[in-house]
Subunit: 331 residues, 2 copies
């Protein structure tokens, strides 16, 4: 298969992206097409060692910045995002991977590729580290004002993802709210609860914010407003704690010594929390394989995101979502 990678997307693009794409092409033996400013990309490729027979470059002169508005990005036909997604639409490639502007990729994918039949709203999930492994928090940004039917579809699409990529059997679905009883929550949650009980997913009921890090559900369903705030919040907390520790340690002597003893353990722990291993999550509900990698992705994360794209394609993730949704409708 052929997989297009947005060479210009992400905080460490293009260097780390090119490197990660090369690694993936070597390891998988599948053709990886880097879409981006060609001379820059070729220059980086030339500087890297490795077997380049499975890597290709397609020129895209325009670059969408990380904080550009999706509506503006849509107009940029020469951007790496637009070109890569056009290739996917034409069937030149079977998947597209980007660590770039998530809003821009989502909006462009929706416009160019469109939704799977039956999907009301595509959704974006992230894998959150928990005490029991990883949980998928869905949606984290694509949809701010949701209807109960959207949340049910997020649960179904998340289930397909967890089965297909994380090989979880009957992954559990929790509805994020402010109390564990059936009658606790805002109007959206109260209206969603009975629908989830009837949906073709392993619904385990309501879960609270504190249950998420405990790993109470494999899939945590919420609207994109709440999900995005939680995601940004926890990223901010991690960043803040890191800064604080760094500052404190900088002007103290004994903690520096202590840190030396603790580093190996902290490194092990970090591995469990690191998103690099998981690469990225497909934009669920789009009628093609579009994988969103973290904006801070380095080569390893990019390479793993390419693998996610390959497996999601090979295992027919998109078709599975279509089928599962029509089961849900009783069609």
């Amino acid at each position: 298969m052929r997989i297009a990678v947005d060479a210009m997307g992400g905080d460490y693009a293009p260097f780390e992206v090119v490197k990660g794409a090369l690694w993936a092409s070597e390891e998988l033996g599948d053709e990886v097409v880097l879409v981006g400013v060609e001379d820059k990309v070729r220059e980086i490729l030339d500087s890297l060692e490795g077997d380049k027979k499975f890597i290709d470059v397609v020129d895209a002169r325009d670059v969408v910045s990380m904080d550009e508005k999706p509506t503006q990005a849509l107009k940029r036909e020469d951007s790496s995002i637009s070109k890569g997604l056009s290739m996917l639409k034409r069937g030149d490639v079977q998947a597209f991977v980007s660590a770039g502007n998530t809003g821009a990729v989502s909006a462009t994918a929706l416009m160019k590729i469109g939704r799977i039949k039956g999907v009301l709203r595509p959704a974006l999930g992230v894998l959150m580290p928990t005490l029991k492994g990883r949980s998928l928090l869905i949606d984290v940004g694509a949809n701010v004002d949701c209807k109960p039917e959207y949340l049910v579809q997020f649960a179904i699409m998340g289930t397909v993802y967890m089965e297909t990529i994380l090989h979880k059997e009957r992954p559990s679905v929790g509805l994020l709210t402010i109390g564990s009883e059936e009658k606790k929550g805002n109007k959206l949650v109260l209206d969603t609860y009975p629908l989830l009980k009837e949906a073709p997913v392993n619904f385990i009921g309501n879960i609270e914010g504190g249950d998420v890090p405990a790993g109470a559900a494999d899939i945590v369903v919420c609207d994109g407003f709440v999900g995005n705030i939680m995601l940004k919040f926890i990223e901010g907390v991690a960043e803040g704690l890191y800064k604080l520790l760094q500052e404190e340690i900088s002007y103290r002597f004994w903690p520096k010594i202590g840190m030396i003893f603790m580093l190996p353990m902290l490194k092990d722990l970090w591995k469990d929390f690191n998103y690099e291993e998981y690469g990225g999550v497909p934009l669920l509900g789009i009628n093609g394989v579009v994988v969103i990698a973290h904006g801070k992705s380095k080569a390893l994360a990019i390479s793993n995101a390419v693998k996610v794209a390959k497996y999601f394609h090979e295992q027919g993730g998109v078709e599975k979502i279509g089928r599962r949704l029509s089961e849900g409708d009783g069609n």
Copy 2:
């Protein structure tokens, strides 16, 4: 003044509550009335050293458990919560402090004491530790489905609290959403933005989840659904990290040694994050001083919550909220 304390509320009640109330009465020289199962409370008091001339006990035979439903708790006329709030209503005391079931205290306070004139919905805030000190996150649970007007009032009431208790001049107000531009957010946020711009608060615009731990605003306004999920989420993360570190350290040798070097620093940091120092936050919008302390409050937190109650009363926090709200209405 006289302050009633719910002797039976909180995970460490009655012992830690009685101890904290005694400390406060000694330090403030104000009368503190413990409301709870009298023989138990007196037994604890007898076991404690200290000057007991400012402490009193009022018998309440019934205890509302931490996970009881507010609607059920409302019927328990003999509970420490009901009795304490009845005393406040009659003017026997000027404030009520509880570390008990927050929903029950809120519902009972609303029923017995009622709202300040002009208040649409009372709200509960929590002080979140940030890189710049403390921010008030409001609302964190009392109101799940909000109207824009409620959020504006949360901002105003939060401002009064930050001025009165934390002595912040012109505390900044941020509207919690998923992007920093004016047009980003769900319907509630989009409708609230223009109202906040006109409100008598120091509105600095939208803030994202990641800006909260950075301390971007002194007051972070959100609906109670989002606020409660964030609060529980971060508590769950802290608990999870603690468990994980404890587990990892238990079967490793060197990190144990490292920990010894780091303990003094960690203790210092912990002080910054500890809620005990802040005691509690008044239930804002209730027509009387009702302070909610953390459910895990020990003596120090209770004692500080009693102080918050005293200052909020002395500085006329309730009256200030009433005045500020009518300014907001242009009355």
